[in-house]
């Protein structure tokens, strides 16, 4: 619905080239092309304004994730944005100062792989909204349409310092649908929680899951070669769809040129034919004509049928929708990179990717990120070759590593799991600075979600998503004291009564 409305708005304002504002529409290039259906983003605009008080967190060990670890440092923010980070920042007038001495401060944590809200708690049959496992290729579905904002996981994630998550469809399908990025400020709808300016993700899955789900039904795919044939068919369809729309654009423009010429000839002597509204949503100034009388070009050529799934896949090929690819085995990841080359798309991040260490040179060269766990393994054969040093080896090779969760429990101890990967790497002789480990759960996931300009580090201008820890985030005994989102206090351990509560948890009679 949202997308249809936006498309209509875009059309009404005159199309991508704004031709209606031009006084002379006689030259061919000034007849605007009608808009394409896949260009509209689904998230709210990035320039939204948030009001929040001026707050300074003072006297902490500040880990910026952009390289610095500042002793006795401060973070100042106002109106949802970080204003300053450093030592000895002067306190502005009217600023609320929070004494954070003895504490640690990091950016809000970010998870690239969550099913919060689409596989919420409790895990009831009625809540299983994460896999549209009725067809192996469902790029037309969107996780935001399943997302339940009353998932009891949401306040718990806040209490764990998590501020942003990408909610993805599951991995039953080869192409499972759009994922969306959630800013964890509890609201009543997915729309209101959508991270402003975040591009959509496209969930794809390799290997065992799709071939098992469909193979058990004796339908395709039932093999890995069936999987690849499935992706290829889907992207070929999308490529043809893109050609069909672009061909139609040119046909339409040709028709429009002839139509304008025809109308001008018909209305010869009229200074201004006035603005005309196309049936297909493009307003054009019909201006005065100088051409000889041409023939009526006939009816306007109708556009190709709209296909929301193909829109999304064309978005993938145009780079506006980021591929989030569940894929464990090294050989399959290489295969997917090749497939991307064949159809002109890039994979933003492999997910799970327990064998990424085997191809870390390629992943670094191709700039494909790796979202993985610290130590989950063995639940299926493609997860057998896990090593504890996966993230450390990737970091050493210059590849972009990300700690992800796929679990509403695991994400609540992201700091501990990153610490495990850091210390395991160091024990194996791989130099992993604290900043590198912190980036696994902040800056690097922000890049995977395409929001690295806006969040993921503590730098002036970035969104004021900030976590105050009771001690070093790498200790098992450390807890989150405060979580700030958009410059507002979203969780405060000292005031449990202020912790957001979901509707689901009201009146269950299970409180101490």
């Amino acid at each position: 619905m949202r997308r249809i409305l936006l498309l209509a708005l875009c059309a009404a304002c005159g199309g991508p080239r704004g031709g209606a504002e031009e006084p002379e529409a006689t030259r061919e290039e000034e007849i605007p092309l009608p808009p394409l259906p896949w260009v509209t983003p689904t998230s709210p605009a990035a320039d939204h304004v948030v009001e929040s008080p001026s707050v300074m967190l003072r006297g902490a060990t500040v880990m910026t994730a952009s390289g610095d670890i500042l002793e006795n440092g401060s973070v100042l923010f106002e109106d949802g944005r970080i204003v300053a980070v450093g030592q000895g920042i002067p306190v502005p007038e009217g600023c609320e100062v929070v004494d954070a001495s003895g504490r640690w401060i990091t950016p809000g944590l970010i998870d690239t792989h969550s099913h919060v809200g689409v596989y919420p708690s409790p895990g009831a049959a009625a809540h299983a909204d994460g896999n549209e496992a009725t067809s192996p290729t469902t790029p037309q579905v969107d996780a935001s349409d399943s997302f339940w904002p009353q998932d009891p996981a949401i306040p718990r994630l806040l209490a764990a310092g998590v501020t942003t998550i990408q909610v993805l469809p599951g991995s039953a399908n080869l192409i499972g649908g759009r994922g969306f990025t959630v800013h964890l400020v509890p609201q009543r709808s997915a729309e209101e929680m959508h991270f402003p300016g975040a591009p959509d993700g496209m969930k794809m899955a390799c290997g065992e899951n799709p071939k098992r789900v469909y193979g058990e039904r004796h339908s395709a795919p039932s093999t890995r070669m069936g999987n690849v044939a499935g992706y290829r068919a889907a992207f070929q369809g999308a490529a043809e769809y893109r050609i069909a729309w672009r061909t139609w654009q040119e046909q339409w423009r040709g028709w429009r040129r002839k139509r304008i010429a025809f109308e001008r000839a018909r209305d010869a002597g009229t200074a201004d034919a006035g603005e005309q509204e196309s049936r297909y949503g493009v307003a054009v100034d019909a201006g005065p004509t100088k051409a000889p009388a041409p023939e009526d070009p006939g009816p306007e050529p109708p556009p190709p049928g709209r296909d929301f799934g193909k829109d999304a896949l064309v978005g993938v090929m145009e780079g506006t929708v980021l591929v989030q690819n569940h894929c464990y085995r090294a050989d399959e990841m290489l295969r997917m990179i090749e497939l991307g080359r064949e159809f002109g798309f890039r994979i933003r991040s492999f997910h799970h990717a327990v064998e990424a260490y085997k191809i870390r040179d390629v992943l670094a060269r191709e700039e494909v990120a790796v979202s993985t766990w610290s130590d989950w393994w063995g639940f299926k054969l493609e997860a057998y070759d896990s090593v504890l040093e996966n993230l450390a080896l990737l970091a050493e090779a210059g590849a972009r590593g990300v700690l992800h969760s796929d679990s509403p429990m695991y994400v609540q101890r992201f700091n501990q799991e990153a610490a495990k990967a850091m210390f395991d790497g160091r024990a194996a002789g791989i130099d992993i600075p604290e900043n590198t480990a912190l980036r696994w759960i902040t800056a690097n996931p922000a890049w995977v979600l395409g929001i690295h300009e806006r969040t993921g580090t503590l730098e002036p201008g970035k969104v004021a998503d900030v976590v105050v820890w009771s001690g070093s985030p790498w200790s098992v005994y450390t807890r989150v004291d405060q979580t700030w989102i958009d410059g507002r206090l979203a969780y405060d351990r000292a005031h449990p009564e202020r912790t957001p509560r979901t509707d689901f948890e009201v009146g269950l009679g299970v409180d101490p």
Binding site: K358, D375, G378, V387, S475, L508, P512
Partner: protein, 434 residues
Amino acid sequence: MPVARTLPVARCLLPVSCFLFLLVLPGTSFAEVIALVNGTVHTIEGPRLERATVVIDGERIVSVGTGAPPAGARVIDVAGKVVTPGFVETQGSLGLVEISLEDSSVDARPSGGEAADAIRAAFLAADGLNPRSTLIPIGRRGGVTSAVSAPDGGLVAGRSAWIDLDGDTPDRLVARSPLALHVDLGDGGIAAGGGARSTAFGRLREAFDDARLYAKNKGAYDRRAFRETPLSRLDLEALGDALAGRIPVVIRTARASDVLRVLDLARELRLRLILAGAEEGWMVADRIAAAQVPVIVHPLENLPGSFSSLGTRYDNAARLAAAGVRVVLSTGADDGHGVRNLRQEAGNAVTHGMPLELALRSVTLEPARTFGMDRDYGSLAAGKVANVVVWSGDPFEISTRVERVFVRGRETSLVTRQTQLRDRYRRLPAPPAP
């Protein structure tokens, strides 16, 4: 029911005899006297000792104290290190599953899912234990030296074994079998038992009733004059062992009201009950404490996973312990891939309110005591099986490394399939397979 098997202590006095011994029994290490000196020793039963000496002779600990090491012992200086008993994981199917989704590598349950019998009391974990499972050295690298390896699924999953995490043969792996009977009255078990609490409890009562009658009338059974029962003779025997108190019964349940029903059922049947899961146990902690029933808790749970566990909280372990319940900490009932994280689970129990010394006891002595294995396991004391771990620091802290692991007195390798893969790919491209 053999108690922890003791190999004859093979002291090698002469190099030649050692050599011959090794020739005769390849793979079996000869016994030696080992003294770990200068460490911070958590004995668990006694006080923590600084700069202490732990002496291991053969499979057993022979002394723990502050004296000098015995002459001739291999002395290992562990100054600045922490020495504890090896940790014990009490849930999951370690050694019964290699890859969870690969049926041919799964021996924790019969295949067939829901079609399988709901009551499989005769199912014996020891039949399927694989001493060469790659999970065993991986678990050991996390400081876990023993585990309760249990079947799962159904209403009555079968009987577990106590295993030590070392050895190439099942007899070296298994210290006691059958160890306990495992029953599920959580959501999965209720589904297997007919889909309602009443059908599941009813089937369980009927099964125990059949077993009680069978124990008194084996002759009638053999003459086919026994009443109709869906259970096999071996099922009836296994249930009879539990009724007679020869083995404890682990019952998994979550909801507070179910915990109370299970306490009643166990009293009625006079079972040696161990509660597992008990996510809402904190709500009825006083009743559990009064019944003197131990509880196996998975600390890292705080979501209402189902309508049976709406009250799940991180501080369940701390609250139960504060009420006087004997708490055992566990990584949860999975296939055993994650047992190395027992120390992290225990650390989180501390973070959420459990005293550190108690948490340490809850992964060592309390599990041993709960399963009736504390004569041989769970603390550092003379006469106990020498399952000993040397840590670089606080065992629960993430930065701490496991430096040495002794299982039954033998220092074990910390090489795993995972470290071998890591080393194989330390430089790229990897060498071709040999």
